[in-house]
Amino acid sequence: MKRYFQGATIVSLLAGLGSVASAEGYTLGISNTVQGNGWREEMVCAMKAQALDSGKVDSLNIAHRNTDAAGQLEDIRNLVEAGVDAIVLNPSNSEGVNSAIEEAIAKGIVVVAVDQAVTAPGAYILSNNQEEYAYLGAKWLFEQVGGSGDIVYMRGAAGAGADDDRDRGFKRALEEFPDINIVHEVFTGWQQDQGKQQILDYLATGLPVDGVWTSGIDNVIVDAFVESDAPLVPIVGADNAGFVGQLATVDGLVGAAVTNPGSIGGAGVTLALQILDGDMPESNTVLVDPAIWANNDPAGMALIEGAQNPNLDPEWPVSVSIPGWTTYTTEEIIACKGPGE
């Protein structure tokens, strides 16, 4: 048995696990359930950069993989076992992970949900307003096509909480424009390749299209129109670097980017650290409202031009920081390094 223990200790030392965290700084846990998506990668990098920049975090435990609510329950419980002081998570949906969040709060761990809300009492929420996100873009689009026309509706992932919230906002705008006709509704799964293939398939049919609303899979849609020599129509996307670049440079493209900052992850880290330091927010919920940047509006175009950043990955949102909430520099978030890395 002694040899067993020796062996195990050596294994753990080899893996660099032997280091004991110093007593001063905090240990933060992060839980995210979508991997390989530009928006989520920016969110995780914002969390790392903010944790490093704050100087208050000794180590980050990151559970970052593609999974469902049950998998996130497992991740949150593992973070609790790891003895973290606070958990910042992007919940896979608003109710499914409540039981683990409640267990964490019962153990004195601060829980901050970013991007989407959770209903667990005691959890702090710093969320982008997804319903408003869809409403703003859809309303702009329907106005652009003169209140009547054929719209292609390119949603996110079927069954995802955020997609459902956005669908509510989209439908709300649709009710205001009874002459708008949704000719095609698809789920891109928030995957670039899938969304591009879907719009290419649609364009190949030669059916009419007067405008396209996308749930953030945007630059590849513009690419598809350009590559297939189809006349450009108004397109709504998110403030992803690639699409914002196209809004400024592609001839004849009329479009609008709706902001949906992935840097909300960094803001979540700031909020968690404030609470750990005893600085409680006035309300448990802080909603970040989106803005719309249209390239046929001078004010919108000014924002679009100001946001150009060729160093960013085209799938990353250009709003890499949130004033008042994040303190890292653009270089730091692109480097994507957390404490101890």
Partner: protein, 316 residues
């Protein structure tokens, strides 16, 4: 004793590996204890049921790629049926969900047997069919789970270190698998997986046995979906990461992918190993992008090691 070791060698090896992992866990996190065991056991539930279902069809010489989608259908059905249901309603809902599982599995099996299209193609197609059905039942996460049913997998029972979720798993699997494996049907499942022609010539009804094996897989998938709803309290229409994980655990658990050999104990221990590895990597705050590499590497190494040991054993 020697006979036990040679017969259950793989399972004993897995148990030793699991014990080693527990030791490693306490080295990484000295506070690891009752709540850790409970977390581990609860996380294991959906994976264990998916793996049990997959193991049965693999033993029968098949594969079921639709297992995660069937779990999604069962999970959303349970959440919809239990929403606002009382005590009696909940029991009916559970029975209904299990029946739906059996029916889905039987449909998979019947499609394979009667169309003669390879199982991998049929179940791949059914993966999409069941995914769509789940979205038709519930287009976004929703529904509810009855609180007393959820309590069945929370906390411990008899001993502080014995999680209820573990007892739930053992009881469900034992109630289905022990009578089945000792019955004529169980023998037939092994027989068609081992050698279909020989089984046929011995009077086994190959088609019906295959349908039954898929139905049992559907039943386990329904239990898996039910545990998803029990642990989250809602139904989620998007299938979780249970397909690949179940194939991995089946292989790691010593079930031969060609069929005819293995049982459920090994694969379920393998599920615990894979979940504990995930827990250890989180406890040790290993880079999440490295985590999946480590998980995959452990699987390949263990299976290769097993192959080498088996070959050595055959020589002596």
């Amino acid at each position: 004793m020697t006979r036990l070791i040679s017969k259950q060698g793989w399972v004993l090896g897995l148990l030793a590996f699991l014990a080693l992992l527990f030791v490693l866990t306490t080295v990484i996190q000295p506070d690891f204890g009752i709540s850790g065991l409970d977390s581990l056991s609860r996380a294991t539930l959906p994976f264990a049921f998916a793996t049990a279902g997959m193991a049965v069809v693999v033993i029968a010489g098949g594969i079921d790629l639709s297992v995660a989608s069937m779990m999604a259908v069962a999970g959303v059905s349970a959440a919809v049926l239990m929403d606002g249901a009382g005590g009696g309603g909940t029991v009916l809902a559970v029975v209904g969900v299990l029946a739906i599982g059996l029916a889905m599995g039987a449909i998979n099996g019947a499609a394979i047997v009667y169309t003669r299209v390879p199982d991998i193609v049929v179940t791949l197609a059914m993966l999409f069919v069941w995914e769509g059905v789940a979205l038709l039942i519930l287009k976004a996460p929703g529904g509810a789970a009855t609180p007393w049913l959820r309590e069945l997998i929370v906390g411990n029972v008899i001993f502080p270190w014995l999680p209820r979720s573990f007892v739930f798993l053992v009881v469900c699997v034992a109630v289905i698998w022990i009578p089945l494996s000792r019955s004529r049907l169980g023998l037939s499942i092994y027989a068609i997986g081992s050698n279909e022609l020989a089984a046929y010539r011995s009077g086994v009804s190959v088609g019906l046995t295959r349908i039954a094996a898929y139905a049992v897989c559907g039943l386990f998938a329904a239990l898996g979906g039910l545990t998803l709803t029990m642990s989250t309290g809602i139904g989620e229409p998007i299938p979780g990461p249970y397909l690949m994980a179940s194939v991995a655990a089946v292989v790691l658990g010593g079930v031969v992918l060609g069929g005819g050999r293995g049982a459920l104990l090994g694969p379920i221990i393998a599920v615990f190993i894979l979940r504990l590895v995930r827990m250890d990597l989180t406890l040790a705050s290993v880079d999440p992008n490295v985590t999946t590499i480590v998980e995959g590497t452990i699987m390949v190494v263990v299976v290769m090691l097993g192959g080498v040991l088996a070959m050595k054993g055959r020589k002596t």
